[in-house]
């Protein structure tokens, strides 16, 4: 490869990534040369400026077609843009949560590690090669391991970080093991090349190996989205990490996980042969692999929904409770995938948008409360008397998480129901599990309402809220309500700018 080839690439399609990379590098240098005693909140504002610039660059690319550069390893399509947009917004909120006030301070490392994690997530969303997908995944994972353990003198944080590393390492190894078989079956690492080679005789003869590779990849990636076989780390890590980091893990990291999962499961395997034989007029054929493995995907989705909701019922610590609630939401998000619906991308994207707004908001409230003590459900007692606005915001998030009409969460759940019922045959099992999960979730979400409105409080003073958190609360409340009342705004936005099925084209 010579200089001319390098210069021919449309480098401008990577502008958002370059912006984030440059911001992260610049911030680490500024942090290095800055006076040690000086306040680091300037760095947060610089990082936010970088994210804003990246969002602008992303908007400028919105109506371009599919671009793939760097020997087809980097691919910018509607799917990538949609998920990158969500990740950038989510990271912006997380950084705003971390803006320190008079009594607190922020570490420089925290800011630029969040940016490198974001960069990894963005690479995951727009890679078309197993190697770059893996490197993006690990950039996100390694940054988040350090972020969880950043309070190095806190034993809870140490323990959470160690559990996260061990679980993450095992999950990575399992994913890679699956990927190595995918490479072995086709001799290619580019997922679009693999898609084309999946119909070959070698794969048909070794189709059980393809199913094995698929299942290994699902199990490994379920770590990132906190789905059933790999959900056990979530409560411990969410509890031990600082609240903004928890918000990052539960939102941005999960969005990135869904981006890689959808691309890596749908693209290479879409034409792969499955295990069962089907007699067609032109001889014996095989059903597609996705149809063969559907029962396993259904099992994972149902288990995730039930485990998340049932164990959340008996949690007292607020962050652990939200960890299980976030496991349950991962289960809801798996429903369209397990239903193999055509609307999978639209439904998942919309639900992730709603989830981003309501979950970041809920963690913002927990972040505010955690200034006083370890936040339990009982810490919310009498909150309405102390801080009425904060209570109303929290109520809106809880209603949205529970899926009550007029909130974004309701529309998101509705879209998922429609995607599961729009397939042939209709997926009643998945819908039933989701309904049961939703009803169970009312119990623990409404437990907060009882505390906030009807119980007397131990403290009388109002809760102090920093300006960054106020901004997050205002935007997320507005977004949750607006998307609930006018969902067509977001839905037309999807239809005008994103052609999700581009993901399958070579």
């Amino acid at each position: 490869m010579d200089m001319d080839t390098l210069l021919q690439y449309q480098w401008n399609s990577m502008m958002p990534e370059f912006t984030i990379l440059l911001t992260a590098v610049a911030l680490s240098l500024i942090d290095l040369f800055m006076n040690k005693k000086k306040d680091r909140s300037l760095l947060i504002w610089l990082a936010l400026a970088g994210i804003a610039a990246a969002i602008v660059f992303l908007f400028l690319q919105f109506d371009d077609g599919v671009v793939s550069i760097l020997n087809e390893t980097y691919r910018l399509d509607s799917f990538a843009k949609a998920f990158k947009f969500l990740m950038l917004i989510g990271t912006g909120f997380v950084l705003l949560l971390g803006v320190p006030d008079e009594s607190t301070s922020v570490r420089g490392e925290y800011i630029y590690l969040i940016l490198t994690a974001l960069l990894g997530g963005m690479m995951m969303a727009s890679s078309a090669d197993l190697i770059t997908l893996f490197v993006g995944l690990e950039l996100l994972s390694l940054s988040s391991y350090v972020l969880v353990g950043i309070r190095k003198n806190n034993t809870l944080a140490n323990e959470a970080a160690f559990k996260y590393v061990v679980n993450g390492g095992i999950a990575t190894a399992i994913t890679l093991f699956g990927m190595s078989y995918l490479y072995g079956l086709t001799g290619e690492t580019n997922i679009y090349e693999i898609q084309g080679l999946m119909g070959s005789d070698v794969v048909t003869d070794n189709r059980f190996l393809a199913v094995f590779a698929f299942l290994m990849i699902v199990v490994g990636l379920s770590f990132k989205i906190t789905a059933a076989p790999f959900h056990m780390w979530a409560p411990d890590v969410y509890q031990g990490a600082e609240t903004p980091v928890t918000a990052f893990l539960s939102v941005v990291s999960k969005i990135a996980g869904f981006a890689i999962m959808l691309r890596l499961l749908m693209v290479p395997f879409v034409f792969a042969p499955g295990t069962r034989e089907v007699i067609t007029p032109d001889g014996v054929n095989y059903e597609t692999l996705l149809v063969s493995v559907r029962p396993y995907l259904v099992l994972i989705a149902v288990l995730t929904i039930l485990i998340g909701n049932v164990i959340a019922l008996r949690q007292l610590n607020a962050k652990r409770l939200f960890a299980y609630s976030s496991i349950a939401h991962a289960g809801y998000l798996l429903v369209p995938l397990a239903a193999l619906s055509e609307l999978v991308f639209d439904a998942v994207w919309f639900y992730l948008t709603a989830y981003l707004l309501m979950n970041i908001g809920a963690f913002a409230v927990i972040h505010v409360m955690s200034a006083e003590e370890e936040v339990t459900v009982a810490s919310f007692a009498g909150l309405f008397k102390r801080s009425p606005y904060l209570t109303i915001a929290m109520s809106i998030y809880l209603l949205s998480l529970a899926g009550i009409p007029l909130t974004a969460g309701f529309i998101g759940k509705f879209e998922i129901f429609m995607s599961a019922l729009g397939t042939e045959p209709k997926r009643y099992l998945l819908v039933t599990a989701m309904l049961m999960g939703t009803v169970l979730s009312y119990v623990y979400y409404f437990g907060f309402f009882v505390q906030m409105y009807f119980r007397p409080s131990k403290h009388q003073t109002p809760v102090t809220i920093s300006n960054g958190v106020t901004a997050v609360l205002a935007i997320t409340v507005a977004g949750t309500v607006l998307l609930g009342i006018f969902p067509s705004v977001a839905l037309t936005f999807i239809h005008d700018h994103f052609q999700f099925l581009e993901i399958f084209n070579q």
Partner: protein
């Protein structure tokens, strides 16, 4: 020269992977747990290199992939050990069974 068939490499890698998984799930010493994870990652490398030499459409890509895996595994081990050292300074233990202060 190639009297060893591809399947022999794959079975070795599978055994290595299972040993690593077993170790990571059952061992009590945190350092052994990290080493077991390395075993699992090395099983992947063995797979990739074997496929790159004897697999379908054998190409250099598998070897390149394994180089990336090795690099990332090293970074992961570094982060894991750094976190373990921080934990050891505060708790003076590397026993996984004693890491149970969360959950309350």
């Amino acid at each position: 020269m190639s009297s060893v068939p591809l399947s022999a490499f794959l079975v070795t890698a599978l055994l290595l992977f299972c040993m690593g998984l077993y170790g990571a799930l059952t061992k009590r010493n945190a350092v052994i747990v990290l080493i077991s994870i390395e075993l699992m990652l090395n099983a992947v490398n063995l797979n990739l290199v074997a496929f790159a030499k004897y697999g379908v459409g054998a190409s250099i890509r598998g070897q390149v992939f394994s180089l990336f895996t090795i690099t990332v595994a090293a970074a992961e081990a570094a982060v894991g050990l750094a976190i373990l050292i921080a934990l050891y300074r505060n708790r003076a233990t590397v026993n996984v069974d004693e890491m149970n202060t969360l959950k309350k």
